[in-house]
Symmetry: D2
Subunit: 301 residues, 4 copies
C-alpha cells in the first residue's frame, strides 16, 4: 500500500432490473478496468452507490471484484457508515470478502467534532488490520477533514492515504507539503491534471469507469511531466464529463451522474443494463440517447 | 396512530462499559418513562444513538422497549439509514421487533433532490405496513423537508406524522395550516411550548428522558390553554437543558448532550452507567458533577 | 427610548418612475402609518431599500419622515453600511436629518470575527449620541449576532434594543431571559405572535406598510394576553404575506416582496407608483393584479 | 484593457495613526510596486480595506495611485457597494479620480437572484464608460458568480475581465474554456501557479504588496512554461503567506491578514505604520515580531 498510485476508479455497481447485484456485468466491468491499465479498483465508493446497497450486496460486490482481480491490482473497499461501530462491522466484512485496503469517511448524520475524529479512525485501524484510507468528502459528511488531523493520523500510523473529494486544492497542497508519508488521491474528474500537478499520487475518477484509457493517458502524461498533453487529455475528459447533466431539471445531479456512467458502460458493451438504486430517478430514453451522443463525440463508440 | 399525541421522548440507549446494550437499564428507563405518563416511546432516534448502534443492537433495543410497553403506549422505531433500500431493511426488522410505527428521515450522505423524496417515502411505506413518520432533521441530512412534499405525501396516505427537528417554526406552522391530517411533533426541548402554541400534536424532547414529568406538565398546561403555566415550565426546562453544555470545549455538542442525558439518568437512579458510543468523548468527573448540579438546581435529585 | 415598544414598521421608500425619491408619496405613507396607530417608524431599513439608496436619498427620506412625524412617534434610522467608519458617517447624517435612534447591523462584506463586534457597536455609540439598536440579520451579514455579545453591549450601555430578523427564536428567548434591559423587536411578519408570546417588546414587520391595522390588532391582542385573537390575526396576515411570492420564478424573492409591498400601497391609494430600485426586476401587470387580489382577499380594498 | 495581464496587486491603503489616509506611504507603496514590475495596480479592493474606507478616502487613494502611475501601468478601481445605484456613484467618482478600469462585485446585503445580475453589471457599464471587471468573491457577497452569466455579459460587451476570488478552479477553467474574450485573474495567493497553469491571464494577490518580486518571478516562470520554477516560487510564497495567521485566536482572519500585510510593508520600509481600520483588532508587538520573522525567513529583510 505504500506504493499505491495511479488511476483507481470507484467501480460502478451494476444492478439487474430487479435491483439485485448483476454479477456478470460486474465481472465484465472489473476485467474491463484492469485490461485498461487501472492501477487499483475502489469498490463500494460513492460512485458504486454504496449508500444505497444493503450490506449483503456491498460484500458480494467486493467478493466479485476481488475474485476478478485475484491479486492483479489492489482492491479498496469503501466502508461507509454513520459512525465508528457501524464502520467497524463493514471493515470486518470487507476484510473477509477480500479487500486489500479500507476507505472510511468521517462520521456523518451524527454531528462530530474535529476532536472526535482521531478516535474514529484509530478505532477502525485497531479493529481491522488493513491499510486505511481517509475519504474526505464534505458534500456527504458536511465538513472537510482538517489537514492537521490527517497529518497526526499519518504520523501515528493510522492512515496510509487520503482520497480527496473536497475540491479544496489548497488543502490538498498543504497535505502534500506536510512532511508525512500520506499518499494523496484526487477524487476530481475535472481537475485531475491539477491534482497531479500539485503532486498527488493518483486519481479516483468516477468517469474512469467509462473512459479508463483517457485517465490513464492523463496520468502517464503527468508522470512524465508532459503537462500540455495532460491538459489536452483533461480538456477532452471535461467535455465527456458533461454527460452527467443529461438529467438536469428532472432529477438530482447524483441520479443523473450515476445513471449516465452506467448508461455509458451499457453503450460500451460492458454492462447489461443501467438500472440505478431507489430513490434515484432513472434516465429516460432521450437522456440515454444524450449519453451515447457524449460518448460518440468523445470517440468512445 | 391517527391519535398519536403528547410527549414521546426519544429513548436513550443504555450501554454497558463494554458498549453492549444494557438491557436491565433500558427496561428500567422504559418503565420510568411510562410511569411518568409519556404518551409513546421513540426508540433508536438520534438521542438513542441510532447512528452509532450496530443493527443487532438497534433491533434488540426495540424488542426490549416493546416488551416493557406491552401495548401500554405506542412504540416508534427510528429506521435511520442513508437511502431507501437500507431503510427498508431496518423497517422490516423493526416491524418484526415490535414497532408500532416507523420514523424515517430523507436520504443522507447521497445527495438527493426534492423530486426524489416522494419515491423514498412511498417505497418505505409500500414495503412495510406500519404508520410512517417523516423525521425532518436538516442538521443531520443537510436540508429541510419541503412542506409541499410532506403535504403531498400525507394526501396520498404515505405519511401519518412528522417529527420536526428543523427549528423552522414557520415551516411547522405552514404544515399545521395545510388542510391535511398530518400529525406534527416538535423535536425542540427549548421551544416546546411554542410548538404547542402553534398547534403541534406533541413533543419529542431528548431531555424528556431526564425530566419526563416536566414535559408532561408543559404539555398538559398547553392542552388546557394555560400558556403562562406552559411558559413557566418551559423556562425551568430551558435552565435544565443547559446541562448539554457541560463538555463544551473538550468535545462536540452531541457527545456533551448525550453524555449529559445519560449521566442525568444515572443520577436519578435509572441507568447503571453513562457510557456513550465511539467516537464520542466521555464526560469526565468534573463534567458529571456539573450534570448532577444541574439536576439538583432543577429539583430532580 | 427605554419605552420603545409596539409596531414599528420598516417604511417603504417610494420612488418616482425615474427612481428619484417620491416625497409626496413618502409623506402620505408616513401619515398613513401614524394614523393607523404605529408606535414608531423605521426609515432606511431593508424594506426601505436602504441597500439601494444613494446617501442623499437616504438622508432626504429620513428628513421627510421626521418632518411628518414631528415628534408624534419616534423615528428610527437604519445606518447600514459595511463597517464602522462608513456606518459612523451615516449615523452623523441621520442625527442631522432628525433621527431619534439608530439601527446598525454587524459589519458585512468584510469578514468580521465575534471578538470584533463590540468595538464596532461601541465606536458607533461613542461617535453619535443617539440610542443604538442592533439589527440582527444573518441573511444579509452572514452570521447571527451572538447573544453574549448583545448582553455585554447592553450591560455597558452601548445598545438599547435589538431588531431580530434572524429567525432564531431560541436566541430571541435567550436574550429575553438574560437579566439586561435590552428591548427586543421581532422582524418576522409570520411569527409576530410567537415573538410577543416569548416577551418581545414589539414588531418590525415589512408587511406593516400594507396592513398596519392588522399588526396593531395582533399586538394589542397579545398585550392583553388574548392569544387566540393574536393567532387569528396572525393567520390572516400569514395569508396576506403570500403576496411576496407573486414574482416567484421570474425574479428574486426580494424583488418580489418589495415590489408587492409597494404595489399594495399603490392599490390602497397611498403611493403614486410601485417603482423599485435597480437591479430589482419590476412586477409585471399579471403580478400586480395578483397583489391586488391578495389585498382584496384580506379585506384591504 | 484587452491586453490586461500579469501581476496586479490589490494595493494596501496606508493609514496614519489617526486613521486618515497616509498619502506619503501610499505614494511610496505605489512606486515600490511599479518598480518591482507589477503590470497594474488595483486600488480600493478588499485588501485595500475598501469596505472600511469612507468615500472621500477611497477616491483620494485612487487619485494618489493614479498620480504616481501617471500612465505607466493601468490603475483599476474597486467600486464596491451593496447595489447598482450606489456602485454607479462610486464608478463616476472613480473615473473622475483617474481610474483606467472598474472592478465591481455582484450586489450584496440585499439578496439578489442570478436573473438580476445582468441588469446590475449592464447598468454600471452603461453609466460609466470604462472597462468593467467582475469581482467574483463569494466569501463577501454570499454566492459565486455563475459562469453562464459571465459568459453572456462578455458576449454583449459588458465585461472585459473577471477577478476570481471564489476558490472554484473548476469554474475558472470553465470560463477559460468558454469561447469568449474574457480575461481571467486569479485572486489566490496560494494557488497562483495553478491559476496560470489553467490559462489565467494574471494574478491579483494581496501578498503581492509584500513580495511583488516573488509573484513576478512566479508569473514569468509560468509564462515561459517552466512549471517547476513556478511551483518552487509558489511554495516559497505559500510559506510566507502563513504570516496571515499571526493574530489567530485573538482576532478575525481578516484583521490578522491585513495587519500582517501592512506590518510587512513597514518592515520593508515602505509604509510609515501598520494602522488598520475599525473595528479590526490591531496586531500587538508579539504578532508584529512574528510578521518580521516570516519576512526574514522568506529573505525579504
Amino acid at each position: 500500500m505504500t506504493q499505491l498510485h495511479g488511476v483507481v476508479p470507484p467501480v460502478c455497481t451494476p444492478l439487474t432490473p430487479e435491483r439485485e447485484l448483476d454479477v456478470r456485468s460486474l465481472e465484465r466491468l472489473a476485467a474491463f478496468l484492469i485490461e485498461n491499465g487501472m492501477h487499483g479498483l475502489f469498490v463500494t465508493g460513492s460512485t458504486g452507490e454504496v449508500a444505497y446497497l444493503p450490506d449483503e450486496t456491498r460484500y458480494r460486490a467486493l467478493e466479485v471484484v476481488a475474485g476478478v482481480s485475484a491479486g492483479q491490482v489492489p482492491v479498496l473497499a469503501g466502508v461507509i457508515d454513520t459512525t465508528t461501530p457501524r464502520v467497524i462491522e463493514h471493515a470486518k466484512a470487507a476484510k473477509a470478502a477480500g479487500a486489500d485496503a479500507l476507505v472510511a469517511t468521517a462520521p456523518f448524520y451524527a454531528p462530530t467534532h474535529p476532536l472526535e475524529l482521531p478516535g474514529h479512525f484509530r478505532a477502525i485501524r485497531a479493529a481491522v488490520d488493513l491499510p486505511l484510507i481517509a475519504y474526505d468528502i464534505p458534500v456527504s459528511v458536511g465538513h472537510k477533514l482538517p489537514t492537521d488531523v490527517v497529518v497526526a493520523l499519518t504520523e501515528d500510523g493510522t492512515l496510509d492515504a487520503v482520497k480527496d473529494s473536497s475540491g479544496d486544492l489548497d488543502g490538498l497542497r498543504a497535505l502534500l507539503e506536510a512532511d508525512v508519508p500520506v499518499r494523496c488521491f484526487s477524487g476530481s474528474e475535472v481537475l485531475a491534471d491539477v491534482g497531479l500537478f500539485l503532486g498527488a499520487h493518483g486519481l479516483v475518477p468516477g468517469l474512469g469507469n467509462v473512459d479508463p484509457a483517457g485517465y490513464l493517458r492523463l496520468y502517464e502524461a503527468a508522470r512524465r511531466g508532459d503537462w500540455d498533453a495532460a491538459k489536452t487529455e483533461q480538456t477532452r475528459l471535461r467535455g465527456l464529463f458533461r454527460l452527467i447533466h443529461v438529467g438536469d431539471g428532472r432529477m438530482g445531479r447524483y441520479s443523473s451522474a450515476i445513471g449516465a456512467f452506467k448508461e455509458g458502460l451499457v453503450a460500451r458493451g460492458v454492462l447489461a443494463g443501467g438500472t440505478t438504486s431507489e430513490p434515484m430517478i432513472p434516465l429516460n430514453e432521450t437522456e440515454r440517447d444524450a449519453v451515447r451522443q457524449h460518448l460518440a463525440v468523445a470517440g468512445l463508440l
